[in-house]
Amino acid sequence: MANLMSGARMLLECLAREGVDCFFGYPGGVTIPLYDAVYDHHIRHILVRHEENAAFAASGFARSTGRVGVCCATSGPGATNLVTGLTDSMMDSIPIVAITGQVHSKLIGSDAFQEADTFGITRSCTKHNYLVKDIAELPQVVHEAFYIAASGRPGPVLVDITKDVFQGQAHYAPVSSIHLPGYKVNTEGHTGQIRRAAQMIWDAERPLVYAGGGIVSAGAAPELLELVELVDLPVVCTLMGLGGLSGSHPNFISMPGMHGSYASNMAMTGCDLMIAVGVRFDDRVTGRLSAFAPHAKVIHIDIDPAEIGKNRAPDLPIVGDAKRVLGRVVKVLADLESEMAVRNTEGRKAWWRQIRAWKEEHPLKPALSVDEIKPQHVMFEVDRISNGEAIVASDVGQHQMWTAQFVRFNHPRRWLTSGGLGSMGFGVPAAMGAQVANPGQLVFALVGDGGFQMSLPELSTIAANKLPVKIVILNNGYLGMVRQWQELFFNDRKSAVQLECFPDAEKLAAAYGIAGRTIERPEDLRPALEAAVREPGPYLLNVRVSPYENVYPMVPAGAAINEMVLAPPTPVAVPE
């Protein structure tokens, strides 16, 4: 009877078998039995200050490592607070497993205290979810949850567990296999299609790689690099794909889309072959879909068959894991090299000349000023310090776009951002999760003053766990991106975007026992950032940046991506 154990203990054993060494959570009524088991278990629990941030921290953990992140919340309000974080992971295909407590199985449906239909509520924001009412099912379900979260197109999986399952006792026999007959993952890619892809790549005159988050999640960066160097292909990386090809690589153009560079968007519009890998032709990338890449044949490689043809019908679809498929494409390309590489050499050279000309014509250049700190200047300095190596988590808005434009990422999994959902309050907890997973690494949280205040309580978690995260607030006193749209498209009627009464950052940091400073002079920027990085513990650097800076280039909603607004329109006098 040695292996008779409680459901709570059994859950932790299953987590340990899945390689989990830490998780983020917040206890509550029905999870007290679980936390009783956590008390003397070797798995580390990190107590956050709000459940939403547990989900974001798990996401930061997963994004920065590729391992499954785990978060935990109690029933009712605990579970509903996870919803934003789950949706975020769903949109960005991030593998996390959320454990929630549920009221006693006999009370389900009785509107019991802290009861919520977590299973129903999270149906649409998870890849799959479970409600466990029987302890006998628990181990099986936990292993299924991890498998589903991490395999195929990754995503969040929620396991809702009733209080009586945590409390119940049963014999624990480790599960040796799981069976999900309806869950099909096609990783290899069709051999004939791969051969055709290689031919199309050699045949193209103006090829372009459009690389997305799938490169990062499949760990396909080495294969992408081989592909790019074998054929000398230009590459654009989406917001989610940054770092998929090193930001310092000569073949990397930059990010495409709404706030992408001129060269990227012109290359997207001008290419005759688009090699789309791990992307979903998101509206923020394509602009007006009917005018997107009008001359291009499209090869679309994705693990999720439902992405293929969802927005743009490809000329050559390949369903498979980006790492496997690109590896095989490279092999075929190499086989064909001697026979086909000589084709179109002139055309390819001209294409590269054109791309370089576009880059020179309108480069992404940070605005600098001697009177005030421009937000782009902050990014420029962060980039200088990071040199492509640091982990950078951002929030959502203007600063997110500037980070994507100006901070290089030389490796995948260094750039953590809420891409699809665009949820504010993501930056600080994601950086926290990444720092837990990567203790020796320099981790920045580049956040706006709006998003920072959404995740403010986590300063406490950061201080308590001595996580040396460098929080840099780009403080313009506005919800900048909304204000930018109000300026440009709503006659400059600034409605509910001014964030007054930002706290004194130094005092705020001191209140949590961490170092902090506010700066507003450009000459202070570099020394202040360097001091923050030198500080062994966490640091809160509040940078007062110019309040009215906007993000350019910008593709207005509904326009084609080559119809960019490159600079601020000349000011129009508004009658008083």
Partner: protein
Amino acid sequence: MIQLISLLVENKPGALMRITGLLSSRGYNIESLTVARTLDPTLSRMTIVVDVDPNLRSQVIKQMNKLINVLQATDFTETPSVAREMALLRVRATMETRTAILKESEIFGARVVDSSVEGFAIEATGAPEKLDEFIDVMRSYGEIEVTRSGLIAVSLEAKRLRLSPPIPTATTTAGREPARAGSRPAAPAPGPSRSRDARAPASPQRSEQRTSQTETE
């Protein structure tokens, strides 16, 4: 445009919610939906009629196939299949109209399942358009009440059912080392990226190939 979908679904809690939830969250309108157990009591067969833009038809099927509990989603719209619907009607009949109603029912192959001084209960099956006509005819005799079952369909081609084989779970013992998320099989993982490959289900060739009993019997 009307799309006819047949689903083979694991009979698990929440399976129906996942399917209807997916349809509504993607903005597809459900015209009718029927569910019942198959010969294998762990599986259910669903027939769903949705109103969807023809360009989105394959997207609907792909999204359905992504659901873990869906073993197979098939578009019957343009494949050889038989589709039928059933209607139950309560028809008020006077002494003068009773014979005529019986005659009409006979023409449409409908059966009287209850008869009283007030009228009849009639059961009719057929293609939806035929039922529409029958209902129209019956309405001409006065007040009626109708319940329709929604369409059910069966394929005329034996379809191979491709199922994924069982997957071995982690072999690492609890807490021995902070194993990688994907360290399940013995394969050494040089980086986090390998995890997905190592854990991927077997190639399609090795998948279980079986013809569903529910399909052929």
